[in-house]
Amino acid sequence: MKICWTMKEIIVNFFQALIGFSGGIAVGAGFVAFLTVLGVIPRMVQLTKRKKLVKVYGACVLIASIFGTFISFANISWDQPTIMLIVWGLLHGIFNGMLAAALTEVLNVFPVLSKRIGMDDYLLFLLMAFVFGKIAGSLFQWLYFVK
C-alpha cells in the first residue's frame, strides 16, 4: 500500500467510499424492511415464546448480514468436514422455507380456497401440497435439472 496519495487518488477514493457506504445503507435498510414485512422474526419470537429475545434476534440478523457480506467479498476458504455442509444446508433450507411460507402468494391462496371453493375440510391436506411441492421442486432441480 502506498503511503503518499496524490490529490486525485484521495478524491477518487473518497467518492468510492461514499458510493459504497451509501449503497450499503440503502441495501441494509431494504433488507431489514424485507425481513420485517415478511414477519419471519416475529414468527420466530412467537414460536419460541420469548418476547425478550427480539433484540437478540435483531442483533443476530445484523451480525449475520455483515458476516455474509464479508464471506461473499473475501476470497477465503476453510477446511471443514461434510457434516458442516449438511448443517449449513439444513439451516439455510429452514430459513428459506420460512421465507417462502411467509410470502403472500402462499398465504393469500388459502382464504380463497377455503371460502370460495369451499375446501375448508381439506385445508391442511392442501397445505401439504405446498410443503411437498417445495421439497420436490428443490430436489428435482439439484439432482436432475442442473445436470
Binding site: 458442516m84 388459502f110 428443490s138
Partner: protein, 204 residues
C-alpha cells in the same frame, strides 16, 4: 321500566325460509319475565328474494321492539349488525376436484421455488459456499443442496405450525389468522353494502 341488554351475534347460519326470531340473532339479558316473549319475537322472514345473505342492523330491531314493547328500554352492546348466512344443503365436494387443486398447488409451488433459485443464482452461491467451507471445487454441492431442500419443508411447517392435523402449539398459525382476516373483510363489506337499513325497500 326495565332495561333490556341486547348483544347481536356477529354471524349466524340459518336454514332456508324460516322465521328469524330474536333468539336466533341476539343474546338478550333482562331482569323480568319478558325474556321468553322477547326471545321468540319474530324479527324477519327469510324469503327466496334474500338469496344467501341478510344483514340485520340492531337499529331495525330497536325500532321494532320499541313499537312493540314501549315499556322496555333497550341497550345494544357488542356488534351493531348480525350477518345471517342462509345455508342450502352443501354439495359434497368431489374428491377429483380436490386432487386437481392439490396437483396445481404442488406443481405451481415446485416451479416457483425453481424459478426463485434461478433468480438468486442459488447454484453458483452454493458452489462458492462449498469452496469456502471445504476448500474444494464442486460443481454439484449436493451435501448442501439436499439438506437445504429438506430444510425448506421443515421451515414451512414451522411457519405454519402444522403437520397435517397435528399442531405444534396452541397459538393460531398465520394461516388461520389470514383466513380470519379475510372473513372479517368479507363481513365488513357485507355490513356496508348489504345492510337492510340502507335498503330502499325498508325506507317506506
Amino acid at each position: 321500566m326495565s332495561i333490556v341488554y341486547l348483544r347481536m351475534k356477529k354471524s349466524v347460519e340459518l336454514p332456508k325460509y324460516q322465521e328469524v326470531t330474536l333468539k336466533n340473532i341476539a343474546h338478550i339479558s333482562i331482569d323480568s319475565s319478558y325474556k321468553e316473549e322477547l326471545d321468540n319475537t319474530t324479527i324477519y322472514h327469510i324469503t327466496k328474494k334474500d338469496k344467501n345473505i341478510v344483514v340485520i342492523d340492531s337499529f331495525l330491531i330497536i325500532d321494532y321492539l320499541n313499537k312493540k314493547f314501549p315499556e322496555l328500554e333497550l341497550q345494544v352492546i357488542g356488534p351493531a349488525q348480525c350477518i345471517i348466512r342462509i345455508h342450502e344443503k352443501k354439495k359434497p365436494l368431489s374428491f377429483l376436484l380436490v386432487v386437481i387443486v392439490w396437483l396445481i398447488l404442488f406443481i405451481g409451488t415446485a416451479m416457483t421455488i425453481m424459478n426463485f433459485h434461478y433468480d438468486v443464482s442459488m447454484q453458483e452461491v452454493q458452489q462458492k459456499l462449498h469452496f469456502l467451507l471445504t476448500g474444494q471445487e464442486n460443481e454439484f454441492p449436493l451435501w448442501i443442496q439436499v439438506p437445504y431442500s429438506i430444510g425448506l419443508g421443515i421451515g414451512m411447517l414451522l411457519f405454519f405450525n402444522h403437520w397435517f392435523s397435528k399442531k405444534f402449539n396452541e397459538e393460531p398459525s398465520p394461516l388461520e389468522i389470514e383466513i380470519n382476516n379475510y372473513q372479517q373483510n368479507l363481513d365488513d363489506y357485507l355490513i356496508q353494502n348489504e345492510n337492510m337499513l340502507d335498503d330502499e325497500r325498508n325506507n317506506r
